[in-house]
């Protein structure tokens, strides 16, 4: 806690400094520039879009799943940290749960508390649709984070990652790397097979590989997003395939185990692409001393963006930069490929 306090104190001091500098710059600009014609328009637009300046006080209810995984943990942290940055935002966060009934109960409590806006990352989007509808009917706009509800009536805005795009971009990257290679072989270490997102990631991967007739997918095993399962399944894959050229692993958390299995088997004759964007994976890509050459992002910063959207909704504003009076109905994040070339740019978003 002490760390948090001291760091926020530094931040505010820095903000003050930056603020002074910005004011000085504006003053200077005002003195030298003679293009003051559209100042009025700018001011008008700024009034309708959300910005960092305090506005109407908004209470945001946040209900997420249990943070038993690096990425989910980062989601919770991102949401809380962003909410703290706004003086006009009060965050009411519930304890995370993977139990559908329990999460519904938590959301109902938030509805009863009459929060202004709800941000929900459902453990199971389909199963929580009804409670989303209930909130919307009670006049509380819902920002649906990542795992989508079954009905568009259950949310005002959806923001999330692109699982299909993740597979697609992983496949494209591998395809480009193996372009000149005849009879190239790739294998896939997938995530939890009974999740829709795993199927979408695999579908995107397969579709991308169709563009490269020289590449054949020779093996696929599903792990469980855990280090232990990653180690076990990767060890088996390595036994089953004595030679292959590339591996796509859906998740960097299980990647810790997978990389361990690769080291234990003493293999380094292929390139590996990870998924999600964990810090340890980015560190390894930067160091360049392992088979891991890239990771496809599924950014947990979407939780911070969800808080921004919820605040804008609560204050009845649009989003700055987009020519809208309202916030959009849906936003899909881009699954960028992080390699040694651009890793420095993305390292700050890496989660541990």
């Amino acid at each position: 806690m002490r760390y948090a306090k001291s760091s926020s104190a530094t931040t505010s001091r820095r903000n003050l400094l930056l603020g002074t500098a910005a004011a000085g710059a504006m003053f200077a600009a005002g003195c030298t520039s003679n293009e003051n014609n559209d100042d009025g328009d700018n001011a008008k637009q700024a009034a309708n879009t959300a910005n960092d300046k305090p506005g109407k006080a908004v209470t945001i209810g946040f209900a997420g799943p249990q943070a038993d995984h690096g990425w989910l943990n980062a989601i919770n942290e991102q949401a809380k940290r962003r909410a703290k940055e706004y003086k006009d935002v009060t965050l009411e966060a519930t304890e995370g749960s993977n139990d559908t009934a329990q999460q519904i109960g938590q959301i109902e409590t938030l509805i009863n508390k009459k929060v202004d806006v709800l941000v929900i990352l459902p453990a199971d989007g389909k199963a929580l649709t009804q409670v989303g509808l209930k909130a919307m009917r009670a006049g509380i706009p819902v920002v649906n984070l990542d795992r989508i509800f079954a009905s568009p009536q259950a949310y005002r805005c959806w923001i999330g990652g692109d699982n299909y795009g993740m597979g697609l971009n992983a496949g494209r990257y591998i395809g480009e790397q193996l372009k000149g290679k005849k009879n190239a072989k790739v294998i896939e270490l997938a995530g939890i097979d009974n999740l829709e997102l795993t199927r979408q990631r695999t579908e995107g991967f397969n579709d991308a590989l169709k563009n490269y007739p020289n590449i054949k997918k020779v093996g696929r095993q599903a792990a469980e997003f855990t280090v232990e399962s990653g180690q076990a399944k990767m060890a088996q894959l390595l036994q089953a395939h004595s030679d292959f050229d590339a591996l796509w692993n859906h998740d960097d958390d299980q990647g810790v185990g997978a990389e361990r299995a690769i080291k234990q088997a003493g293999r380094d004759d292929f390139l590996m692409v990870g998924g999600a964007g964990a810090k340890h994976a980015m560190d390894a890509i930067k160091a360049g001393n392992s088979v891991l050459k890239a990771t496809v992002l599924y950014p947990p910063t979407m939780a911070a963006s969800a808080i921004d959207l919820a605040r804008a909704l609560g204050q009845g504003k649009g989003v700055g930069g987009l020519a809208e009076l309202e916030i959009p109905a849906s936003l899909t994040l881009y699954s960028a490929v992080v390699t040694k070339d651009n890793v420095d740019e993305y390292l700050p978003t890496g989660f541990s």
Binding site: Q66, A67, D68, H69, G70, L72, N73, D193, V218, G219, R220, Q221, A222, E224, F225, T226, V227, E228, S229, G230, Q231, A232, K233, A235, Q236, L237, Q239, A240, S242, D253, V256, G257, R260, K263, Q264, A265, G266, H280, S352
Partner: protein, 315 residues
């Protein structure tokens, strides 16, 4: 008596048979990969962590009890031990921590059951819940990556002695000690006795409470050792470690011929049970079968193995 016991051990023949069939299938479908030294080392390594847990669970089930908390204890011990890895504690500190956490959890289970009169199912279910919760709290939901080289090196091929990975040696040692304790010591006889009839055992002068306490301590100890092995294997600690170990260990013990109602237990059978499961997983991965098929087959094999045993034991 000893002839009867030998007959009971013959029960394991059916499992040896299943294992032989699996090996034959493996040798037939993937002759180059399946019977390679690398792959045999892999199968044994993957069996070793759950194997050590199963030896402890076999004792508890033999005494008529149950331990549903083994997976959670493995998770808690591995998470707790790996927090030390970031604070300059070496191999010894990490091992000691894992073992102490295991023993501590076993002690709580044992006291609740033996002296608090709680039903083992409930007491260990409570330990499952709180152990997982505590593991989540300590790790803050994060994967704790080990950087201590002494620990990491134990899992690499350089550490193999005569081609045997250290983890497999630990597994073998635990199995041998477990077999000796169950079959050749007073402790083992008392375990079987209270599993058969606790009241008769008490009248015969056995301190049933103390014996029960010791058994849950033993199970906790095995979990602590397994947690350390898992840290070596994965190079990390995570609150999801040991997921569903309780069910895997109980299933392996039951198909190995240990009676769920207590009074009969076989370490050899349990270890064979673990090997059957690990071999199936390996075989399926080598043949590129998906997890849904694996799960269905695992279920079918549990049913088949128990049916075969039932057929043998009832005239």
């Amino acid at each position: 008596m000893s002839r009867l016991r030998r007959l009971a051990d013959l029960r394991n023949l059916s499992l040896v048979g299943v294992l032989a069939v699996l090996i034959a299938v493996g040798g037939f479908t993937k002759p180059d990969e399946f019977l390679s030294t690398d792959n045999l080392q892999l199968v044994l390594t993957q069996a070793s962590v759950i194997g050590v847990v199963t030896v402890g669970v076999t004792f508890v089930i033999t005494s008529g009890g149950i331990d549903l908390s083994v997976g959670a204890i493995v998770a808690l011990a591995s998470v707790w031990a790996t927090t030390l890895a970031t604070q300059d504690y070496g191999l010894g500190g990490i091992l000691l921590c894992a073992v102490l956490v295991g023993l501590g959890c076993g002690l709580v289970n044992g006291v609740l059951i033996a002296y608090g009169g709680m039903v083992p199912f409930i007491a260990t279910l409570a330990m499952l819940a709180s152990g997982r919760g505590l593991a989540l709290q300590i790790s803050d939901g994060k994967t704790q990556v080990v950087t201590v080289n002494q620990v990491l090196d134990l899992g690499l091929p350089d550490a193999y002695v005569l081609g045997i990975p250290p983890l497999v040696m630990i597994f073998a040692a635990v199995t041998v000690v477990g077999w000796l304790v169950l079959n050749r010591t007073t402790f083992g006889r008392r375990t079987v006795a209270i599993g058969g009839n606790a009241e008769a055992a008490r009248l015969a002068g056995i301190d049933v409470r103390r014996q029960r306490l010791m058994l849950y301590l033993l199970s906790g100890l095995c979990c602590g050792v397994a947690a350390f092995m898992l840290v070596v294997l994965t190079g990390s600690g995570q609150n999801t470690n040991g997921n569903l170990y309780e069910l895997d260990a109980i299933a392996a013990a039951i198909i190995g011929g240990t009676l769920l109602s207590g009074g009969r237990g076989t370490i050899t059978g349990s270890v064979l049970g673990v090997l059957v499961f690990t071999t199936i997983t390996n075989l399926f991965a080598l043949n590129n079968l998906q997890s849904d098929v694996q799960q269905i087959a695992k279920g079918a094999i549990i049913v088949a193995a128990v049916l075969v045993q039932k057929g043998r034991s009832t005239p």
